[in-house]
Symmetry: C2
Subunit: 406 residues, 2 copies
Amino acid sequence: MEREPTLRLRVFDLNCWAIRYLSKRRQERIRLIGDTLRRESFDLALLQEVWSEQDYSDLRVKLASCYPFSHYFRSGVIGSGLCVFSRFPILDTLLYQYSLNGYPYMLQHGDWFCGKSVGLVIVKISGIIFNVYVTHLHAEYCREKDAYLPHRLVQAWELAQFIRHTSKAADVVLLGGDLNMHPEDVGIRLLRGWTGLRDAFAEATHFEGCKNGCTLVPDNCFTDSSELLPFPLGIRIDYILYKATSSFTVKCEELKTTTGPAPGVDIPFSDHEAVMATLHIQRQGQAEGATLGTADAALADVVTEARTEVTVGLRAAQRQRYSSGRMAVLALLLLLLQAVAALGTLAGLGAEQPFPKLSFCLLAFLALGILVLSTGFHLFHTMEVKMLHGTEDQMWMALQALQKHP
Amino acid sequence: MEREPTLRLRVFDLNCWAIRYLSKRRQERIRLIGDTLRRESFDLALLQEVWSEQDYSDLRVKLASCYPFSHYFRSGVIGSGLCVFSRFPILDTLLYQYSLNGYPYMLQHGDWFCGKSVGLVIVKISGIIFNVYVTHLHAEYCREKDAYLPHRLVQAWELAQFIRHTSKAADVVLLGGDLNMHPEDVGIRLLRGWTGLRDAFAEATHFEGCKNGCTLVPDNCFTDSSELLPFPLGIRIDYILYKATSSFTVKCEELKTTTGPAPGVDIPFSDHEAVMATLHIQRQGQAEGATLGTADAALADVVTEARTEVTVGLRAAQRQRYSSGRMAVLALLLLLLQAVAALGTLAGLGAEQPFPKLSFCLLAFLALGILVLSTGFHLFHTMEVKMLHGTEDQMWMALQALQKHP
């Protein structure tokens, strides 16, 4: 097997939208996904938003014969939602939790509670070492005023850095996941430029599926089509990216997306379309990574653009840290003032007037509540500042390195 | 330079105990550390507990001529406290924040607020790629009843996994830091066994310093000697570990520790002693990592022992998650009961008795406070359970892999 000339690898990637109690027809869809994976026998299936461990276990039982190896990545309060099913033995795994992932107090968005991460599984197929990464980045709730852009950029940067540092012994690198970024967004350009990963959709010899490879389309019955009004064809935010790092070449022979309802039923697998790639891996030619150096100038521009957005986020986080800190100090002062008033009353001052116990108590609890909350906010935004600052520094280092190259 | 036969590398490692407002004579000691680093010109200085960015900046200015390259790792609320000074260019850096690191509500310990991490810097010296790791693990506050043991073991495991996955292209791996573990502790055995790292103290041809290489000694004027009563000679918790991963050999020619007061003054650098190693790196021989496989059986025992401790931690975390959840439910029930009582009063029921507004309000705020706090605890312990469970899984995978070997 070691000397096999060409390896054909079929990869399945899907954001499963399997949120307990919230996602519509969840169990039915998980069954459908399992049936399809079993029938189609891909080599690797990279799934996101499998939030319930029970769903994962059900899938594992169902897929035990055709995908005997699997891994579920645990993190955060709810879980990372990431899992991998593989026809080939998983040699090792590693989880990297992104340092920034939204705000715990944005309950309506809830990304913070998922502990968004990138999971790595290492598999060896026909003597070739594959580093397979699966991830899900912070959602974009409002494209016009995207408050989470700096966090998503920090995630894209950390993802790129994690891949670069952990893939040095890999022959082939694969990344699948819901990146929540359009193909031309700065985060995708940063990720691709800094890692040398190539986009299976752009490279595919043959493509079949939704127009422009879109994976969030208005036709999907689970999609809120009003959100997609500015994009009548839909958007492409789910990707399969790849590169070969030693003397291998990878070619994407075929890329497919699902297009609405799954075969034989009236519902699709998820609110996202699945991405399916057929890759050809050959042991020959020069390392593809070597082409990275030629685009240094363009890459420096992308890093600069990303760094500017991170700096904007840093300023906003500093302002929030300051205002929450100020609020905490004001609440503390109010509490101290009340303590003085209470002591004064106990000492007999102002005894001619009745002491307003109830409003006094209400005010004290209000001040205490504000103190606790704003201290919490202050600590959180201090961490945010630290991480944004750290990323800004790292990007600066990267720019220095890029500019030193000829 | 590429073909130089032997490289001599001098490494300095110190937990600087530089906590703003809390550490005694901090600025004086930071100046002392800077003076010594400048005078002695080591090749690499790995520092921990440099919590203040100002202290780092002061050191950087002072050391600019002899250590022109440096990096400060930012994380958590206070910061990771980790930094590296290098005579040679730093090519790249990466930070990995441990997924578990004590409890935010253990304010008197405060480890949670530091965002304990491992920092990686990559340097190339005479054509040899060095992956240099610096870290600081969770402190041990009570050895007899160490509540943080499972967290420290998760950290030791994540540290080992991070080193294994990121060092595959390195010629030499160096790790320096305060591991807060005695040499025979399960965490150290796990880290050394799973990475193949060797202990500079145990391997040194020549040793000079505190007896048994101790780095926390009762003679140090900043140490609380009552805490070291069971260990009259002190304890060794600061380490320099190393290995060569390709066809290089590393030998520790000399290991030194400081012994109390710094030269010419009456105070030591810190409450820890510094560790200084002189390493010889030679481009010859077989990869040292190859010896790892021979000790698989012993390593499996260590992983099993560590996994047992993690399981104990998991059970405790599950109990805490359950009791905090139950407390939240009780508080919620109390609030609902109060709401019913208030509505009843508004509807004119029990109008013959005066409504106890003050105690009613106090009780409501108490219930609300308990609800908020116990929900917070519940979320935190849910995350803890997830991470302990994930580590247990990973260790199980490692055991399977070890047992498959002959």
